[in-house]
């Protein structure tokens, strides 16, 4: 799974879900940022990023996630993460991502808490 990367978008009326798979590095991160930007510009301010299929993230991936949070915060939007491994969750808390975005075990609860 880590050897290929992909992004799936699921748009609903009030929110959109971005699901990534693969190594969240610069390549996947830039795609993610671009998709998130498109959704934000399209009017979505409630986003969920599902990282269940992304078990590996580097510092560039983290910085891109922070940028998405910043972009949404500017529009008073909300971002929730789901599908994080225990290490990822600890990383997100340590990097203060959890301060500005919600962390939920699954997509359903992440959407419900937008």
């Amino acid at each position: 799974m880590l050897n290929k990367f992909d992004i799936q978008i699921r748009e609903a009326r009030e929110h959109a879900v971005i699901e990534t798979s693969g190594y969240l590095n610069d390549a996947l991160g830039e795609q993610l940022a671009e998709k998130a930007q498109e959704l934000i510009q399209g009017g979505y301010t409630q986003l969920v990023i599902n990282l269940e299929q992304t078990t590996l993230i580097n510092s560039i991936g983290i910085s891109i996630l922070i940028e998405i949070i910043e972009a949404l915060t500017e529009r008073e939007g909300t971002l929730n993460f789901c599908g994080l491994s225990a290490t990822q969750e600890r990383t997100f808390r340590m990097m203060a991502i959890a301060k500005y975005a919600g962390i939920f075990p699954d997509e359903e609860s992440a959407i419900a808490n937008l």
Binding site: L2, N3, Y23, N25, D26, A27, E30, T55, L56, I57, N58, S59, I60, I62, S63, I66, E67, E70, A71, T87, R90, T91, M94, M95
Partner: protein
């Protein structure tokens, strides 16, 4: 009549209007500067994200409609257009180091007065200059650190900026420079914070992994993530072969383009050639040989896809090098590849030490599991083997018989039996299956089942009937030979090349006292005659062990042959396995056949059980305090 004061009034009015406008713009500028300051301290770490706000404030304050902010990336040596009005996409502009030095010399560069030393740079920037219609450049810097540039288009309603506007621009440029520096600092802190956390987090995580494959995978993944690399690999040493073997690559396709993609093996222990012939494989060798990190620049060769490689040794507890950890192509934001730094080497080296503990833990755990599994298997095998050895031996009219089986060390494959045939004859068998453990026990069980099946189904029994009626010993020979081939075929089909059994079979007719024997590679039993002479049975006609070769090859190498001996009163036949003759004493001497002959002759007049005990005591007395690892089996047949 014209009012003579009008020009003066108009002039005053114009001056007043201009002053008011200037005042208004100054108030607006101050308010925008405050806004800019707020943006700076808003907590938004990413300059690229805030750059549009900075550009908007700059253009609005200076009443310019077009402009751009460019951010300098020292590792890439280029300027990235992070914000532009109109908003368009531009390729990054390459900046040579001497051009950076020249740009730092000028607070402003006007389009009409470009210094000669920067002409080439601005020529490369032609598309941006034309699109934005840039008239004035402002290099962004803090002290001597070049951070980027602001490019401004035409000034609205005027050719140049007034002095106070230039001062304002200087202030704005300074603020934007601070924003870039702040962004770089935050990005750096975030990155280092992430790395330190990952380093601290990864140690307990990988040390918990008890499967060597899972540990290898995690070690590579963590290293790749830690170093912002886009590839990684783990190679482990095989000290006995002096070679490095690939255990895991990320991505899986890392070696796809190299010839070694099916399993990379690099011999080490040899001296690496001198540059420029050094390949990436040579670098990896030297990492193991010298135990220090190594670097292989990108495009050195096609191994690892020509990536920029950094490799560090993975130390074991005893100081040996367990293997090497490799990362490839350090990424930078924007997709470019940047060289690994000295700090990266230190970081990966620290991580490799943790990885060494994790890998050793996983291997030790695996060994413990295998040992436990082997022990359980041995226990099962022992049960099987013990069940195959008869608890008691039958009474043969006119004969005494005694057996002894003593497992010593790991489960072996010794077997003996005395089988009553339907016609009152007896089959005595002794065998030694190669190898140890479950496979040996199962092979022995197969041999026993095949033997009993053959003896009771027909084969030798049918021949025996003929022998009974016709006294046709030749037919019995043929049937025994055929039985040996059937058993050979059975064992060959059920085992591997290394699994075989030495086997000696004796067909005893107690009415005629004829012992017909067949040897398949077993130690020849000893016949001690009542007169004290002795001979080895089956020595001359010994075939090869059962199950070693297919039947057609057996026929070409050494066919199984039977022979018969006439037993008389007081004759003793000593069957044994090599655990007897190969018993070693503390002086590393073997018991050997001569001692067996001597001991057998010394006790030949005793009954079979006493002979068994005498021979066993003789062997054990010889062994003394020495260790013994092979089973000891004796089967004594004595004609009363």
């Amino acid at each position: 009549m014209k009012d003579p004061r009008k020009p003066i009034l108009e002039g005053n009015l114009q001056t007043q209007n201009t002053a008011e406008q200037t005042m208004e713009r100054l108030i607006f500028s101050l308010s925008e500067l405050e806004h800019l300051g707020q943006t700076l301290i808003s907590g938004h770490s990413n300059f690229n994200h805030s750059s549009k706000t900075y550009l908007r404030i700059t253009l609005g304050t200076l009443q310019v409609t077009r402009g751009a902010i460019l951010r300098y990336h020292p590792t890439r040596q280029n300027l990235e257009v992070v914000a532009s009005a109109p908003d368009e996409v531009f390729f990054p502009l390459t900046v040579e180091p001497d051009e950076v030095a020249n740009l730092l010399q000028h607070p402003f560069i006007e389009r009409t007065a470009i210094p000669e030393s920067l002409e080439q740079f601005f020529a490369r920037s032609a598309k941006l200059v034309e699109t934005i219609d840039i008239h004035l450049w402002v290099p962004l810097k803090i002290q001597d650190e070049f951070l980027g540039m602001i490019g401004l288009g035409k000034f609205l309603g005027r050719e140049t900026l007034e002095a106070w506007e230039m001062e304002l621009l200087t202030t704005l440029a300074h603020q934007i420079s601070i924003a870039i520096a702040y962004s770089q600092m935050v990005e750096g802190i975030q990155s280092e914070k992430f790395r330190l956390f990952m380093l601290a987090e990864s140690a307990p995580q990988i040390c918990q992994l008890l499967q060597p494959e899972a540990a290898a995978e995690q070690v590579v993944h963590q290293a790749v993530s830690l170093l912002d690399a886009n590839a990684g690999a783990l190679m482990l040493t095989r000290p006995e072969l002096q070679q490095l073997e690939m255990h895991y690559t990320f991505p899986e396709t890392l070696l796809e383009d190299s010839e070694e993609h099916n399993g990379l093996v690099i011999p080490y222990g040899e001296e690496a050639p001198a540059p420029p012939e050094v390949t990436s494989a040579d670098v990896l060798k030297s990492v193991v040989n010298e135990g220090i990190p190594g670097h292989c620049p990108s495009k050195s060769d096609t191994l690892f896809g020509g990536k920029d490689l950094m490799a560090v040794p993975i130390p074991g507890r005893d100081g040996d090098v367990l293997g090497i950890l490799i990362v490839g192509d350090k990424e930078e934001r924007g997709g470019s590849i940047t060289p690994f730094t000295d700090e990266d080497v230190i970081l990966l080296d620290s991580f490799a030490k943790q990885a060494g503990v994790a890998i050793e833990n996983a291997h030790l755990h695996q060994e413990a599991l295998e040992a436990r599994q082997l022990q359980a298997e041995m226990e099962e095998a022992r049960k099987i083997q013990v069940n195959l050895i008869p608890d008691t031996l039958p009474d043969i009219p006119g004969y005494e018989i005694a057996g002894h089986y003593e497992p010593r060390g790991p489960v072996g494959g010794d077997y003996y039996d005395c089988i009553a045939l339907p016609t009152g004859r007896w089959g005595l068998a002794i065998a030694d299956v190669s190898g140890k453990g479950m496979q040996a026990a199962l092979l022995m069980a197969t041999l026993r089942a095949g033997l009993i099946s053959e003896l009771t189904r027909g084969g030798a029994t049918a021949a025996e009937n003929r022998e009974q009626s016709n006294l046709d010993s030749a037919a019995l020979y043929a049937e025994l030979t055929e039985m040996a081939l059937i058993l050979n075929s059975l064992l060959y089909a059920s085992g591997t090349e290394e699994k075989y059994a030495t086997f000696f079979y004796s067909h005893l007719n107690p009415e005629t006292d004829i012992l017909t024997t067949l040897n398949a590679g077993h130690n020849p039993p000893l016949l001690v005659k009542s007169d004290g002479t002795s001979k080895w049975l089956g020595e001359e006609v010994g075939g090869i062990p059962l199950g070693m070769f297919p039947n057609d090859m057996v026929s070409n190498i050494a066919e199984y042959e039977a022979e018969h001996v006439q037993l008389t009163s007081g004759d003793v036949v000593v069957y044994y396995t090599d655990g007897v003759t190969e018993t070693v004493n503390v002086e590393d001497e073997y018991y050997e056949e001569e001692r067996l002959v001597e001991a057998s002759k010394a006790c030949k007049d005793s009954d079979a059980e006493a002979i068994r005990k005498y021979l066993y005591d003789s062997v054990m007395g010889f062994q003394g305090e020495a260790d013994q690892f092979d089973d000891l089996t004796l089967l004594i047949l004595r004609k009363q």
